[in-house]
Subunit: 320 residues, 2 copies
């Protein structure tokens, strides 16, 4: 294999020293690499979507943790639009966060939509299609994606698992060059407590008020762009609560990391408005009232914009 | 109504000053009170189960929060055993944490267990009973509980919502005296950041490492036992990671708050071993290997022990 670098390396910005390499690192990397290569052979592109928030433990035997607000809605819905556009999808998501297709029905208790029908000795359980809008169509799509092995789920819980799996994914996808897109929608913590400074046991409330001191998480976008997947099309996300600093922060990120695009959004309006920022341009994407009524989703527009940009990016690489 | 005390009071240990009273406080209280009274009229007892972890925001427009490790497994499974024992259940739980009956199937993607069957023009969706073990029996029970209106779900997200809803529940259940049990299985944060000290916007990682300073959450068990529901049978939970301090901490809690029982458990062994501690006794409840093989759950034993103790408690109150 080309990748002899498994964990400790000079190019991971302290990742391996600060966060223990999980035992499944190599296995997951090969699984993702096999997936990517087989789809590229079949003429597809591959997108790695990260989705959901990361858990940051405050104790080694964890009772408490810091988390980021994220249901995984944007990542899971985007996965569906990428699949519609012909991409194969690696879905690197927080355990129990929203999942493509299933996400449409998590608002209700699924037992409420089942009907037990007894005929003589036998009984069978039917799905009440009124309780699950559009379920037949969704199930058809879901089954087709499964049959085509077009969606590879990979799960994380903690920040440490996320960081190592992202590295594994990046190294795995380096084998397909510019055919790979990274769509980094996960809400990753900026802060953590190093293992060496973490108490083993549950922090006792009888000790009085709590002072937590957190270090900054190394920015993985740097090695991702420079070392792990230098040929790939890389999209990061920027979520702010203050609209006035949004564009400036997105442009600053592009200058710092030199990747291809930032999807910038504000917490309160994130479902109806985003700005896709590239080195030289920025595009505002907005859902109109009419589109909202038709239950269109902003991710449809984001994915459409980015897949076009990816096409252009691949064509340029070929010309060079 | 007997309860003119809606929020601010001298008996809530600073709750209303530190955490804003939610607009739905009175409405939820009446909903719980109506539920409790109607079931007691029908000869049932009522248990309030709290379940899941509380979210503690670090910013007013929340991007980050502190959370407690809790899937809601213990609370949701206990609810089923209380229903089996003839109790009506108020299920005060964290939004999206495990729910009675449904919890049995959250390990798998429900779309994997559906089959689309097309016959001519019509199609229907059937449930593959192999994908959902025992689903017909579980659905029968779930539907019976729904038909009897025996389970009242109430949801919280944040610590603040939890505390106020617990108060509302306690005041609501005071009307049924000793027929009420409190089964406080939720993993409630011991720490929070007061609204006055919270930044409005997302904390910027460019400001450098993060120092968080958290205040201690007022212990609601005090007003619950003394003021809000002084006639009720109250059970608190103690989760530790260090077994050597467990029993002592449970006994200390009983001496401090003077309630009826503590269910004490250790993080690593919590699914197979608990100690039910009362003022004068403690009972160890253990799942044997044989019981584990038969998929028995420790909550079956916990609920059985506590419902007996509740019977005894009610009988003694009548004698006095």
């Amino acid at each position: 294999m080309a990748h002899s670098d498994t964990g400790a390396s000079t190019t991971d910005y302290g990742l391996s020293e600060e966060f223990a390499v999980p035992s499944y690192f190599e296995q997951e990397k090969h699984r993702m690499e096999d997936f990517a290569k087989s789809h590229v052979s079949a003429g597809r592109r591959v997108v790695l979507i990260t989705s959901g928030g990361t858990k940051v433990p405050l104790e080694s035997r964890t009772v408490r943790f810091l988390d980021n607000f994220s249901s995984g809605r944007r990542g899971s819905s985007s996965a569906e639009y990428f699949l519609d556009s012909g991409y194969a999808v690696i879905f690197l998501h927080r355990h129990r966060s929203l999942y493509p297709y299933t996400r449409l029905y998590t608002g209700s208790n699924f037992l409420d939509g089942l009907k037990l029908e007894t005929r003589g000795q036998t009984s069978q359980i039917q799905v009440d299609e009124d309780a699950f809008p559009n379920i037949a169509e969704v199930l058809r799509k879901y089954d087709a994606v499964k049959a085509g092995r077009l969606l590879l789920p990979v799960e994380f819980n903690t920040l440490s698992e996320y960081l190592h799996l992202l590295k594994a994914a990046a190294q795995a996808l380096s084998s397909i060059g510019s055919k790979a897109m990274f769509y980094l929608a996960a809400a990753v913590s900026d802060f953590y407590i190093p293992a060496s400074e973490m108490p083993e046991h549950k922090i006792q409330s009888s000790n009085g008020p709590l002072q937590i001191s957190m270090k900054m998480v190394p920015k993985m976008l740097s090695p991702l762009v420079k070392d792990w997947a230098p040929q790939a099309f890389i999209v990061s996300f920027k979520l702010e609560t203050n609209p006035s600093i949004l564009l400036e922060k997105a442009q600053h990120a592009l200058e710092t990391y030199k990747h291809q695009a930032v999807v910038a959004n504000v917490l309160d309006t994130r479902r109806g408005y985003v700005v896709v920022v590239t080195k030289d341009t920025h595009y505002e994407l907005v859902l109109t009232d009419d589109e909202v009524t038709k239950k269109m989703e902003i991710e449809d527009k984001i994915v459409s914009k980015l897949t076009s940009a990816h096409t252009h990016f691949i064509a340029q690489k070929v010309k060079l």
